[in-house]
Each structure stands twice: as structure tokens, then as C-alpha cells.
Amino acid sequence: MTATLRSLLRHETILAILLVIVLAALATQSDRFFTTANLLNQGRLMTEVGLVALAMTFVIVTGGIDLSVGSILGLTAILLGVFWHNLGLPLPAAMVLAVLAGGIGGLINGLIITRFKVPPLIATLATLALYRGLAEGISQARSVRGYPEWFFVLGQGEVWGVPTQLWILGVLVVIAAVVLGLTTFGRATYATGANETGARFSGIGVDRTKMLIYTASGLVAGVAGVIFVSRVSTTRSDMGTGLELDVITAVVLGGTSIFGGRGTIIGTVLGLILMQALKNGLALSGVKGDGTIVVIGLVLILAIVASNIFSREGDG
């Protein structure tokens, strides 16, 4: 047990050192990087990925995966527009309903995975298509604009000098860290991922744990969707396309084992910041958006290769 703890700490220490090096390198590269304005803006940009990555950490720790998060984000965004603009609901009610719809999307994932024993990979690949298809079908590629001014506080405003959504992310980071690290639910999550059969025989409600986690994943994707709409002032059905890639990269970079049973929220946060710093640094040094996707793909593969080599040493 202490050995696992030590190896975890080691991964996070390495990550933290790496992060410091990257930040230092970026700061010397461009004097625009280490400005408060830039850093806060980067925080704003990483919130949607960050929120979803928190839930994804739980999902991957159970040994599962959720590829449908980007589609849930898109569907939530579209539903927000439909509830408010087409059905004429008050915007706060539309926001709540849209987030709940995201939760239902996650609940359906959980049902398919636990009740029908469909592997999470293929279940969420199917719902990735289904939810994105619903977003496209419902919206018919029409966008909704013209939200009231107060709504933009969420995605574009500031509270005490810090972007509003960063506060939300901060609160959820603390909650997620406490739940995963300090509660019985967190222990059940690790147990499920480390040895599902063993967890079942120990009387852990494996299916219940998974259901809650996939539902939570849908809910935070919904929250991220609403924040996304508020940040860019419009809803489009292609929002959040490819989000799952960024999210999984951040989580895996943060040291969560793709095979389950291992991982921490702190690691995910470090992975998230490292990824955003890389993106920002590349953008500042003139690499275009598509170039940064290449780097993220490379980083994802390298991170897993490295963590596999490390973990095998640990076992030996």
C-alpha cells in the first residue's frame, strides 16, 4: 500500500517538476506568457476540459472510459438553446434542464454499461454518435444567439478578479479530490478498478458506483456545455467535438492508469495545466491550432508509454 502511495507521489512529483520546467521555458520564450492576464485567460480556456477531466478521472480509475463527453457537451448546448429560445423557458430553468439532460445522457451510459455489460469503450462510442446525432438533428445546424447580458458572467465575466468558471472548477476540484481520496465512495472506486470481481465479493456495490460515476460524468459535461455557450455567446451542434481526446490526455498525463485502480485528482489537475501550458506556449510561438493537436496526440502516446515502463519497474 505504501509502495503504491510512494509510486503515485513519484509520478506527481515528476509531473510537477516537468510543469515547472515547461513554464520556465515558456516564460523565457515569450514575455507575453507570464502575465496575469494571459494566465487567467488560459484558466478560462481550460475550464471545460478540466471539469470533464475530474469526472473522467473517476471513470478511468474504475477501469472504464467515457468517449461520449464531447457529444454530451454539444447536446447540452443545443438543448439550452432549444429550451430557452424555442420553448420560451426562463433561461435559469433552461440551464438547469440542459445540465440535467447531460446527467440523463450519462445515466444511460451507466445503464448500458452496468445492466447490459457492454464494454464502456463501445457503449460510449455508440452514444458518442447518438448524442452528437441528436444535437445535429434537433438543431438542424441552426445556432441560437442573443442571450441576455447576465448569462455571459458565467463564461466571460470575473468574480474578485478571477474568471467565474475558474471558481466553479476550483470548488469541484476540491470536492472531487476529497471524494476520491478520503471517502468510502473513493475507496470503492479504486477497488472496482483494481479488481472488479474482488470488489464484488467484498460487498462493494460495483454497479451502483459505476452508475453514479457515469451519471456524474454526464452532469459535469452538461455544466461544461453551459459554460461553453456562455463563453462563446452562441450554441452550435458541433461544440465539444474531440473534447474527449483532450480530457483523456489530461487524465492519463496526470498518472491515472488506463487499466484502472490508480490515479489522483491532483495528478489530473497537474496534467491539465501542463497540457494547457503546452497549447498556449505553442500558440504563442506561432504554431497554429492544428499543429497543437499533433502535439497533444504525441504527448498522450508518450505519457502512456512512459507510465507503462515506470509501472512495470514498480511491479518488478
Binding site: 447490459f116 469503450l121 462510442l125 445535429e136 438533428g137 497554429k288 499543429g291 504525441l298 498522450l300 502512456i304
Partner: protein
């Protein structure tokens, strides 16, 4: 354990037909679905049977069926590839660039196949030797290939393709060449999968890796070969895709990987590995193309297409799980 490996069925004569129907259940269901769809949509809108539309359904989507053959092998061996759409986009662009820049036509046709094999052999090596889950490697590849392609070409169109390069527009006995490719490749691979020892190896690895290893199968090497074969089929698909029209849009065809995976999974390739045939995946590719076309003739917005795709995967997978539970 490959419980439903069709070749294993050797029952008493009176039962044979029934058992065979059961063993090929998915293929018969798909044939029935295709026939029903053609009849119903044809009655509602007779223009559905127009020569152009039929040719579009079969020839225009044959590259998806060809890619699905390779994908089926990968899924049968217990892995997955979500980067195949991006790979086809990259290979099609390479092929087109070779063709317009005066290289020999045969090179423009062959290069995508060879490069596809090499790239996917690399992917397969990461999966087999470094034990990285195929979903992670191919998610990474997806963004590397997609981002790389767009940052190199900026999505510019390749035009002025030489006339004799456009192989997908050739006809033999009045039938467009993509249909020939689809039918011949499906038949060859179906026979090879069923009767060759390597074909059985793929089923064995997907059915139970440890059992396969104990039985003396070189799991790692075979996995790399499966991925390389898959890359070759992606290359053929890329050439068919690139030569369909007079231009190549040098981006990744949106959603292509999902369509290819749908064809394999709906065709009866079990996502748990170990079972399935490429005949099923080809029929599923045709069914899906026919559905896409019928939406137009039934005046349903094409924006619903992706939900239909998602539902189809879900239904098939749920049915597969239910069937497995009954077998147990």
C-alpha cells in the same frame, strides 16, 4: 472462446440448414434488412431505384466496406482503431499529390497501401509489445494524423487529377470498379479468415489471448500483422475514396472512423473479440449506405443520420450481449 465460430458447426444432416442459418444469423438479418429497406423505400419513392442512386449506394460507399474489412480483423483480434478515418484522409491526400505531381500512376495507387501498412504496423507494435491499449494509441494517432494533415495542406483541394488515375471511375462489364474491389476483397478475406491458419489465429487471439499464447501462437507478432493488414485495406480504401471524384479535399472525411466501426460492429463482429465475419461487415456497410440514401428519399433531414448510426451500433451490441448471455 470462439463459441460461434461458424466453421465449427458440423451437426447431423437434418439440422444442418437450421444451424447454418443460426451461425450466419447476423448476415441473414442484414440481407433481410437491406431487402426490406429497398422494397419499402422503393414503393414510397420509385426514384430510389434510379441507376444513379443504386450506383451511388454501392460504388460510392464501397471504400467504407473495404476499410471495414481491415477494421473487422482488428476488432476480431480484440482491438480497435479509431484513427482509420484520419489515416484514409492522409493516404488519399498522399496518393493525390503523387498523381498530380507527375509520379507514375501505379506509384500513386501503391504508395497509400504500403504507407498504410507501415503506419499501422507501428501502431500495432505499440499495442502488442508495449501493451498500450489500442484505444489510447489510436486516439493519439487520430489527432496526430488529423492535425498533421490540416497543418500541412490547410485543407486545400487537389485538382487536375490525371484521367487514367481515377481508378474508382473505371468499369468492368458495366460494373463500377469499387464494387469489384468490395466483392472480391470481401470474398477473398472471408475464405482466408475461415480456412487459413492465420485466419484462425486471429479468432483465437480475440477469443482468449492467454489460451492462444498457451497454444503456441505468437500473439505479439500476429497482432502487428493484423494491424498491418488493416493498414493495407485502409490504403486501398483511400485510393478508392481519392479517385471517386475529380478533386480530393485534403481533409479528413468527417466521422469516417465511426462509419467504418459501425459497419464492422453491426456486421456481427463482436466487440469482445473472437467472432464475426467480413461478409457481415460488408453487408452492414451497404445497409448503412442504403439508410443514408433513403433518408433523402423519405425527406428526412440528413442531420439525423448520425443518431441512426449510434442507435444501430447500440441495438446490435445489446443484441450481441443478450445472445452471449443465452449461450452461457
Amino acid at each position: 472462446m470462439s463459441l460461434s465460430a461458424p466453421a465449427a458447426a458440423r451437426p447431423a444432416p437434418p439440422m444442418r440448414l437450421l444451424k447454418r442459418v443460426a451461425a450466419y444469423g447476423q448476415e441473414f438479418i442484414l440481407l433481410g434488412a437491406i431487402a426490406a429497406l429497398f422494397i419499402i423505400v422503393g414503393i414510397i419513392s420509385p426514384r430510389f431505384f434510379g441507376a444513379n442512386n443504386i450506383s451511388n449506394i454501392f460504388a460510392g460507399n464501397a471504400y467504407i466496406a473495404v476499410a471495414a474489412i481491415g477494421m473487422s480483423l482488428v476488432i476480431i483480434s480484440g482491438h480497435i482503431d479509431v484513427a482509420v478515418g484520419s489515416l484514409i484522409g492522409v493516404l488519399a491526400t498522399i496518393s493525390g499529390l503523387l498523381a498530380v505531381n507527375g509520379y507514375p500512376i501505379w506509384l500513386a495507387w501503391l504508395a497509400p497501401v504500403v504507407i498504410g501498412m507501415i503506419v499501422n504496423a507501428g501502431v500495432g507494435s505499440l499495442v502488442a509489445y508495449l501493451r498500450i491499449p489500442s484505444i489510447v494509441v489510436t486516439l493519439g494517432m487520430l489527432s496526430i494524423l488529423k492535425g498533421g494533415l490540416i497543418s500541412v495542406t490547410s485543407g486545400a483541394w487537389i485538382t487536375n487529377l490525371p484521367e487514367d488515375y481515377l481508378i474508382a471511375q473505371f468499369r468492368l462489364l458495366g460494373v463500377p470498379s469499387p464494387v469489384w474491389f468490395m466483392v472480391i476483397l470481401t470474398a477473398l478475406v472471408a475464405v482466408w479468415m475461415r480456412y487459413s491458419s492465420f485466419g484462425r489465429t486471429i479468432y483465437a487471439i480475440g477469443g482468449n489471448v492467454e489460451a492462444a499464447r498457451v497454444a503456441g501462437i505468437q500473439v505479439e507478432r500476429s497482432t502487428v500483422i493484423v494491424f498491418a493488414i488493416h493498414g493495407a485495406f485502409a490504403g486501398i480504401a483511400a485510393v478508392l475514396f481519392a479517385t471517386q471524384l475529380q478533386v480530393i479535399q485534403s481533409t479528413v472525411p468527417p466521422n469516417l472512423e465511426l462509419t467504418v466501426i459501425t459497419a464492422s460492429v453491426v456486421g456481427g463482429v463482436s466487440i469482445l473479440g473472437g467472432t464475426g465475419t467480413v461478409i457481415g461487415s460488408t453487408l452492414a456497410a451497404i445497409l448503412f449506405a442504403a439508410i443514408a440514401s433513403s433518408l433523402i428519399f423519405l425527406n428526412v433531414s440528413a442531420y439525423w443520420l448520425r443518431s441512426v448510426q449510434g442507435l444501430l451500433i447500440l441495438i446490435t451490441v445489446l443484441a450481441d450481449m443478450a445472445r452471449r448471455r443465452r449461450l452461457r
